[in-house]
Symmetry: C2
Subunit: 315 residues, 2 copies
């Protein structure tokens, strides 16, 4: 239900003008949620078709991250990875970045799942311009982002977090405060995604085993979801896999990237992640196997397609 | 609420007399549940203190599996592993087994988690005596067993399953029928427990990573349980681990055994279980590390105790 942004006197202080960079599944849902709550929302996406879609929703669009930054109070960066964040913050030869259009006092929310050291680096990169970075990875999928019911992990300067509490509450019903150390929210997000990735690969491994043993996939699904083997991601993704519905809600490369980041992060503190390493390899197999454009539920295919079966097909 | 066993005319046919072999956490809960539903329940356990406990509950006890078998209609075997099942079915030098006291028409429910080939072997071993074996592994823990709300996977001769439907419904609210092939329920149980074991090891791996990264365990728990990394066993066991409550509800060797069985079963059908193999190794580390008497939540200790930390302690 659209309503005036929470936690602010209705007329006294106008709500912050919001710029969303990255109008993908999550960014678009966040933009629409804020628009429905009567925020002024502007959008920047490198893809012309995404900008057209934003305009069709009645949102302003900008020709560059710099132009977007010049016209808003708060920016949320919802792109895929650290390389894309560097491009939108620092600019590319033909497209000036946030830093070129920003002014002191602005805040940038980094919502992507990236390495904590990259988050810290981006915070330092904008510091000289007087721009505050908040480490703000998100979770829950587009449907929950659209209703403001998603989760957000938060770390950064307490004053900046306090000032944006109303906006953050409108964006994410479930907010987890990790403290003042930028990067700690990124760490927490990678810990969660490490687990999601292992649980998904494990779900595929167990379902594939059951199928090879001659059991019906739906029976296995019914048993597991009522038993000790259940996980959130097994129930979600293996339902899709059994229905052979591989339209990408979360494409396979995303968790592949996150598992790689989590395993690399673990190495920096000498933590053992043997399951993470194996799950990462299975995700890499899924992407390398030609299923990069599919939903990550397609990891089941990696388990069902043994070298023996491939050999049978090709001879 | 105690009541007359379901699905039977109240006076016409007396409910079957039940013998429970193995008065451990699950067996005792099942016996108490049936007693509360007015079944005549007799018990056999190799441990005198367990027999004394059953007697204190008003149940009859038997001096041997053979004596128990002679006085009941249906036997449920709820011991730990296949070696114990062989002992109670075939007897030991000083204690005659079920086969020595059985009569044609009796039914034996095998409720332990064992290899499907062992289930098939036991069915053949009792066939000559006219005793029908039902492959009936259970899940859900003692609390649900006590109220009859546990799960049971079922495979075996359809006529025998049909004849016992009332008893099975009283034992286990959730019944999953795998068909007539003895061993298929054992397969399904191992598929579930493979997944439970991997998910538990993964939960410990992720929680330990978060802790080593300097995040508060309870914060990680709150984030994961609200996010895509959640699993039934993470929520259950890591809550115990964070509270440092390692009193064994499910001792570490049990899932260690199940993971070993699942990985070995996978090898018989050339299914890949790389995550299962790693999880099995972590469980073996937990047992070998001196935590065999603890709850399987203690697998977290395996991840927290690095060789480096051990070296620090010993020098």
């Amino acid at each position: 239900m659209p309503h005036t942004p929470d936690h602010r006197p209705a007329q006294a202080v106008p709500p912050p003008r919001i710029g969303i960079i990255g109008f993908g599944a999550m960014g678009a849902a966040m933009a629409r949620n804020l628009q429905a709550r009567h925020y002024a929302v502007s959008v920047r996406d490198i893809r012309p078709e995404a900008q057209a879609e934003a305009q069709a929703c009645g949102m302003a669009v900008a020709a560059s991250p710099a132009e977007l930054a010049a016209g808003v109070d708060v920016l949320a960066v919802v792109v895929v990875n650290a390389a894309q964040i560097a491009d939108v913050l620092y600019g590319t030869p033909d497209c000036p970045g946030v830093r070129a259009g920003s002014r002191p006092g602005q805040t940038v929310l980094l919502c992507s799942t990236i390495a904590p050291d990259d988050t810290i680096g981006f915070a330092q990169g904008l510091e000289a311009a007087g721009v505050v970075v908040i480490d703000a990875p998100i979770s829950g999928g587009p449907a929950r982002a659209l209703s403001g019911a998603m989760s957000m992990m938060l770390a950064g300067p307490p004053a900046a977090l306090q000032a944006l509490e109303g906006l953050l509450a409108d964006l994410a019903q479930n907010r987890f405060h990790l403290g003042a150390k930028t990067g700690d929210a990124a760490k927490a997000k990678l810990v969660n995604n490490l687990l999601a990735g292992i649980n998904l690969a494990a779900g595929a491994e167990a379902l594939a085993l059951g199928m090879r043993l001659g059991l019906a996939p739906q029976t296995i699904f019914d048993i597991v979801t009522a038993s000790s083997g259940n996980s959130w991601i097994f129930q979600d993704r293996m339902a899709r896999a059994i229905a052979e519905d591989f339209a990408p809600r979360a494409a396979a490369p995303v968790l592949t990237k996150d598992l790689g980041l989590a395993v690399a992060l673990a190495a920096t503190v000498q933590a053992a992640t043997p399951l993470g390493a194996v799950a990462h390899a299975r995700f890499q197999d899924t992407v390398a196997g030609g299923w990069a454009a599919l939903d990550d539920a397609a990891i089941l295919k990696t388990y069902l397609s043994s070298p023996t079966e491939h050999a049978k097909v090709s001879t």
